[in-house]
Symmetry: D2
Subunit: 342 residues, 4 copies
């Protein structure tokens, strides 16, 4: 039974594994100070056009989020996120476990807005309340949507005017950058945010997120914090080699583009069959609204998750494609939909 | 230049990589609930003869330590460790960052003793002081030594008499179990401690530690804690496959035995050449005491680290062998020593 | 200019100060183990009809909240509170600073409902989300309203059915118990909740909250936690004497009743003058909605705070009476209102 | 039975209580923003000759320590203290509960030395270990000893050279400043340290410590941190009035001087009777070494605590005098000693 459950069901792209094999018996310095990590960082610095960036490879996304947020806030400061933000709902209180409140504001299709940020600021007025100091956004978001250049610029401008740090969770940044609607370049993101990461786990690596610190004063002692949170891999080169493979040529973007293009086929079929979406389709996560009775049949052939009950007879489900999604499985899903038009 | 710096300089043993290749495009359930993790757990349960054990694969050692200690202590409780214990000195305050004091007691050759534990208990008498609730030991220790069955039994008995949890850090448990002096079996350890882990990172895996919870009342909700600390890998099967490869046959023990046997050759040469040790040689970490002027020459041919200044003209260094250490490199080191007898 | 800003503008009721003078030079054991604390506890145990209760005197309310919540939760567990709950908005993230998320649910007039608690439970389904383990309510609430016996019983029943601890913040419990609409007795509260406190600071003491642990398994080691959070007063008898004075006779209730009766006069005048309320008037906190232009004049004669903008021309303000509120000041405020009818 | 157990057995000095009575029914602004706190701060600023200092009144000592240390450290940073330091042993892990390690170094008679600080720095070399960022000292120390001007200057110079913050716990600063051996003035301390506090609880107040932040960049947002830790008293004026009483004239120093002079009489008798001390007698805490069999008789007439077993037949005890210690009780103790000469 084919799974559209998520984008981390398979191992690594063969070119990544190949490079791991090639260097397997080479001796490397530990803790990310190896030549592969170094080369991967150089590739990324070129792409983001920011030679001064500090780059660290972190095993996983929740770890990257909790590490980054707690590294830059004083104890009384909080981070503002959309209600749907990963740090707000799906990390088992990882941010709060480091001592910081997540102030959740309503988003639009999973995106935070300048108005929501300003509302949060207006509400937090004195020392009896936490002090907003950081804004957290995801791109693509937890609902598969993306920030346009205008939207990200507006948030960035507001953050700089208000002294807020801007942190972009790019666990699925590949899918955002390669989707058709995107008008943002990596180098622009690096100028607009203070810190962000480029996700490997959800785009063809075994594991690993490339955390990029753009702002000078955030760089100090960051490796201490990585170690303290248990995120300094002894064999850091395992992540380094993978990012080297992803960024020494265009592989990172090819993989994300494949996932998006598979999703696009499915999205077109969904629309064509008369179904609507819980959030506008855009990247590799789709949220079609389907009749509950159809879901039972769908579940006999495909693995997916239910996102929300929409009304008494309909639910929004979540379908995720990946670098590894096969054309055959997409064709089978499209066929299923065509046989079950609205 | 050959490195005896640590046991995590190379990638994974080829049989592990081979299995990763074999299952690379298979779709797996996320977050460690896949069949490979399941199979690996079954293998381990058989080895430890404890069908009821809860087993979780955690990416790294510091993460395993901070997660385990903070999961089982109430806020006012502390963990007792040897002064040389990894959690006391080499984790950048990871345990304290979760809110708990590490009460460090003098050890003997890196080992904690019942007397030291009793001294810690005697010192902590009332609510003005932290309450000891857990004992942390490493086997093999940070000085390469091991606990005998009698020693571990004595500590275990004391812990049970005093209501202390016993946690064994087995980042290098393979080296302990396969060294010549060892008289402890895995199944005995599982009966004597409450929770322990079997290290993969330092014994041939790319990453991963198998945390084993033996005591029933410690099992509740543990996956919540893994997730909260950022240790729940999306692609949990990456660790699962590796432990499956290590434990489906005897590979885990073969690798550790190789490391020990390489170390033993070096240790014999050191003794033969008239040098002594900072801690008794036993497993894959050796701490010879050498003249400082010799170290400069040694450093031209080999990579190693300095452990301690012993006197004005001598230092203890640390030499580590691994599953990947070559006979040639050992021979070269032995030859160097023979050419520079005391 | 008379202040209706809060109920902690003056020192202590003279009978409390008198008792402090009387015992001032007596030598007492430190840290709350003195005879006055003991006697105060006995008085409270009788009132709540729970001889087995553990009672601790804590200097302040935020401290009591953070201490209590963090004492009883494991790291991955959260507390459910009304959005208006003190722990959610007005404690500068004190709960999160101990590592725990506050899951805020919409309330009705400041009160949490069983439906809101069930909604929170339904939303938190697995280990990717925090685990609800405690419910926090305030009585009287931050909007001056109170829980009826039926309401508290319904919440208590739900909590027990779901394995949730129930914690009642009684910083203003005196005002709740003595208001006309109340149908709850202290002894009933002690049976319905697991832990609660009776506020001294806002009812005539210099400082101090009496925390009462009703449930057996929550009592263990609580003094360790008090000390760790910096809440174990060296001169614990300073709080003990004050609670002795409040509870050796009816003083605690007399003081709260006075505050309520002063508020009632004001509330009647507000209604009589044609104004409405942001939350139903009930205890010593009133939230009338007044025209903004009237507020400027009011501010020339009285001190108060603005709670919320209601519409373009009206705001809800907050008026608080206390044990020390004088009849003259109430008469002056009533007169002002009568001269400025709607 | 007279108690020499500690210096917080009685209430407040009558002149303090008198001032509390005088202003009891006056209405004050909450949270320490009242006129009494303001006046007390002005008095203290004059004494320390630092008009720019930020001063906050905190209820208790442990709270002040945990608040101050956690306010100024990033997560990976630690505080260096003497092994006997209050934050290391007698605060139930309060500092660790905020996430920071206390690195304990051997002291000399309870005092930290530049050599010990340098040793701690030398040991902490890279990101695998916590980063020392603050030095904590107490004056007078937990063993009743004091820092000379030369000693404090040496520590201060070292801290500034190494970028370490210097925090002085002055829970018993009165006793240090008024003892005969002292050569330090308050204004000198304020120039040599970055932050310190003047203890009220142990010198005649009901409660309260005056925390003084000398260094400009440490002042930002400190009230947020006070609130978050539960240390922002609603009736802040209760502490304000007491410090006003202590510092509007010479009362603070008179009280400490009395305690010291009572201790001095006892110390002279101890020496005269042929007994020695565990730490040199200097302030209001004395640590005579007495035969165990004598302790039993002593315990029939006086309350005191045992500090340490010195040998099989002798123990060091702790005798503490205070502002309230009576001449009669001292005379009785002296007489007891004279009747039991060594």
């Amino acid at each position: 039974m084919y799974s559209f459950m998520n984008d981390y069901s398979e191992g690594a792209h063969p070119r990544i594994l190949q490079m791991m094999m090639q260097f397997n018996l080479e001796q490397n310095v530990g803790y990310g100070e190896d030549v592969h990590s170094q080369r991967a960082k150089e590739c990324i610095k070129k792409l983001i056009k920011l030679e001064s960036a500090d780059i660290h490879f972190i095993p996983g996304g929740t770890q990257t989020n909790l590490l980054t947020i707690s590294a830059f806030l004083r104890p009384h400061q909080c981070v503002i996120a959309a209600e749907t933000g990963h740090v707000n709902v799906h990390e088992t209180g990882a941010i709060e476990a480091t001592g910081h409140k997540v102030v959740a504001m309503p988003g639009i299709d999973g995106k935070l807005t300048p108005a929501a940020i300003e509302a949060a600021l207006k509400h937090h007025t004195d020392e009896h309340m936490v002090q907003p100091k950081m804004v957290y956004i995801s791109n693509s978001t937890e609902l598969g949507t993306i920030y346009s250049k205008a939207e990200l610029t507006a948030i960035s401008n507001l953050c700089r005017a208000k002294g807020l740090l801007l942190f972009l969770d790019g666990a699925r940044l590949g899918s955002a950058l390669t989707c058709k609607a995107n008008d943002l370049q990596l180098a622009e993101i690096a100028r607009l945010v203070d810190v962000f990461y480029i996700g490997g786990t959800k785009n063809g690596a075994l594991l690993g997120e490339a955390l990029i610190i753009c702002r000078e004063d955030l760089k100090t002692d960051f490796r201490f914090l990585i170690k303290q949170r248990g995120a300094l891999m002894a064999k850091g080169f395992v992540a380094g080699i993978q990012f080297e493979a992803l960024f020494q040529d265009n592989l990172f973007f090819e993989l994300a583009e494949h996932a998006n293009s598979m999703a696009e086929r499915i999205a077109l079929a969904i629309e064509d069959c008369g179904y609507t979406f819980y959030a506008p389709p855009c990247t590799n996560q789709l949220f079609p609204i389907l009749p509950n009775e159809l879901l039972e049949q769908l579940a006999n052939q495909f693995v997916f998750s239910v996102q929300a009950e929409v009304d008494a007879t309909h639910s929004a489900i979540r379908l995720v494609t990946s670098w590894a999604t096969t054309e055959e499985s997409v064709a089978a899903l499209v066929q299923f939909l065509q046989e079950h038009r609205a």
